[in-house]
């Protein structure tokens, strides 16, 4: 059947459905089609077939591909709504307990069959002590390097979770095992990072601006306040997002060398106009020392690169740069004097 006739057929059936029956327009179109077919049995058959094709494409056969997709978001829906319902269940249980123990047992059994709630998950926590960097292999074969003074928690059953959720305090580099059906989510200070299989660095120290830097693959980052996420910002390799706590916005920028963001793994330290307060925090974590300095000095900024050198070399550099005096007493460093350049 030629294109013009197909256009007529489509106009005819659409018009018919739209009006739920007949009107002048429908009748005119029908006449056009009859004129085209005439008494040609072949054409009449084609026309009939065309109408069958229309009807037989009206619905989509039952397809279950949506279920897997839906399962991946279902878990994220729980906190928004079911929490209150869960509490009710517990109340019901409490009153049931007052009546009969057997009933409690029954309710409890039912409760168990419900989707695992947040509280039922067994979390495992790994911590990198100050002065130490540790490497962790998660149950799903994802790899994590944890910077000194950071900790990470993950569910014991991570491998079987619909969404692989982990919690981070501090800084870590992730190499996530690719598994598109089970997104990997990192919850950290103020932000949530979602990936399917990539490598990236998250810097989320308390009281500092969180940063996520992507090395490979794609990453979605959203703000997270009290379990509510903002619209996600999507990052590609060599891109970085910084959560500006003052303006409460996610700032996306291109970085020259994302690899530099994970050089802490080999003991390097980079500072780029970093406030001294933050510099001292980084140094104390890396060398497991305590730094006590003049408060006035904290507002200075440092731009410097350190390879994996000793603490005394770092201090010598600082002494030259800011004209400070320092004394070391066991694991405590006292800093005196100094002025910004």
């Amino acid at each position: 059947m030629d294109q013009e006739t197909w256009k007529l057929v489509l106009a005819y059936v659409a018009e018919k459905e739209r009006n739920g029956g007949r009107n002048l327009e429908v009748e005119l179109l029908e006449q056009d089609l009859k004129d085209w077919a005439g008494n040609d049995p072949d054409r009449l058959e084609q026309l009939e077939q065309a109408l069958h094709l229309w009807e037989d494409t009206a619905t989509l056969h039952e397809d279950h591909s949506w279920q897997e997709s839906f399962a991946s978001i279902k878990q994220q829906l729980e906190p928004a709504k079911t929490r209150t319902i869960k509490k009710l269940n517990w109340l019901t249980m409490a009153s049931a307990a007052a009546i009969t123990g057997a009933l409690v047992f029954f309710v409890f059994k039912n409760q168990k069959q419900q989707p695992v709630s947040e509280s039922a998950i067994t979390w495992i926590t790994e911590k990198a002590a100050e002065g130490k960097i540790i490497n962790i292999l998660l149950p799903d074969s994802s790899e994590i390097w944890l910077n000194a003074g950071s900790s990470i928690s993950f569910p014991k059953n991570l491998k079987h979770a619909a969404i692989r959720t982990v919690k981070l305090n501090g800084e870590a580099f992730f190499k996530v095992k690719r598994d598109p059906a089970h997104p990997f989510v990192v919850r950290s200070q103020n932000i949530q990072t979602r990936v399917l299989g990539t490598s990236f660095n998250i810097r989320a120290w308390k009281n500092n601006q969180p940063e996520v830097t992507v090395l490979t693959g794609k990453v979605a980052v959203s703000r997270d306040s009290a379990g509510k996420q903002s619209v996600a910002v999507h990052l590609l390799p060599n891109q970085q997002v910084i959560y500006d706590l003052k303006s409460n916005r996610l700032r996306c920028l291109n970085v020259e060398d994302a690899q530099a963001s994970v050089d802490w793994r080999v003991g390097k330290m980079y500072f780029d106009r970093t406030p001294m307060e933050e510099v001292f925090q980084t140094i104390s974590r890396k060398y497991a020392v305590k730094i006590i300095s003049d408060q006035s000095f904290d507002s200075c900024e440092l731009t410097a690169k350190f390879n994996n050198v000793s603490i005394s070399e770092v201090l010598r550099t600082l002494a030259l740069t800011f004209n400070i005096h320092y004394t070391i007493n066991k694991q405590t460093i006292y800093i005196k004097g100094g002025k910004c350049n």
Binding site: M1, Q3, W6, K7, V9, L10, A14, E17, R18, Q46, Q49, A50, L53, W54, D56, T57, A58, T59, L60, H61, D63, S65, W66, S69, F70, S72, I73, Q76, L77, A80, K81, R178, P180, P183, R194, L196, G197, T198, S199, L215, T216, G217, K218, A220, K228, Q229, V231, A232, V233, H234, L235, L236, P237, N238, Q239, C252, N254
Partner: protein, 185 residues
């Protein structure tokens, strides 16, 4: 065509919904909406993230406009536009991962579906063989009941192009069915 008249932009009426109807909405919208998202961002994983973000925000606000179809397609389109803005940089291939966006669906071969003699199933197996845009237009039109005009706006193409794709799509189906007449009815 569809009962949902998308032309009216009356978003004022909103409905509150429960888990069941949310799941229902997801199930109904998934086939076409996912294809639409993949079409826009050319990446299945990214499309999935966008789709999920849209649905999660609906859930969190606990209401959707009465005109749910129009709303959902528009939301996916907006999210994709934002994605493109963010991603307007060179694509880097470091690990050789994400080499080429994979767009085609895994599908049964027509021969397999001939065997189960299910006309509808077999027709959609054929529709899934169409070029991506044509297939998407077919879904938007036939499954979601959008008009030529609405489809044209969603895909940023002309109404005439939409019609052309549909006509060619139906022609293709008819051709295939004629060639395999013995398998039908």
């Amino acid at each position: 065509m569809g009962k949902n008249n998308m032309a009216g932009s009356n978003d004022a009426q909103e409905q509150v919904f429960d888990e069941k109807s949310f799941e229902d909405l997801y199930r109904r919208m998934y086939p076409t909406l996912k294809k639409y998202a993949v079409y826009l961002v050319k990446d299945r994983e990214e499309a999935q993230l966008i789709l999920n973000d849209v649905f999660i925000s609906i859930w969190k606000n606990n209401l959707i406009p009465a005109n749910e179809k129009a709303y959902l397609f528009r939301a996916v389109k907006n999210a994709s536009t934002n994605y493109h803005k963010k991603a307007r940089v060179k694509l880097w291939h470091i690990d050789g991962e994400d080499e080429t966006p994979e767009i085609t669906d895994l599908k049964e071969t027509p021969a397999q579906s001939f065997q189960n003699k299910d006309r509808n199933r077999m027709l959609y197996a054929l529709i899934n063989q169409m070029p991506e845009r044509r297939r998407l237009i077919f879904y938007l039109y036939r499954i979601d009941g959008l008009s030529y005009k609405e489809i044209a706006a969603l895909l940023d193409i002309s109404v005439r192009t939409v019609e052309d794709h549909l006509v060619k799509g139906f022609q293709f189906l008819q051709q295939k069915v004629l060639n395999n007449k013995s398998e039908f009815r």
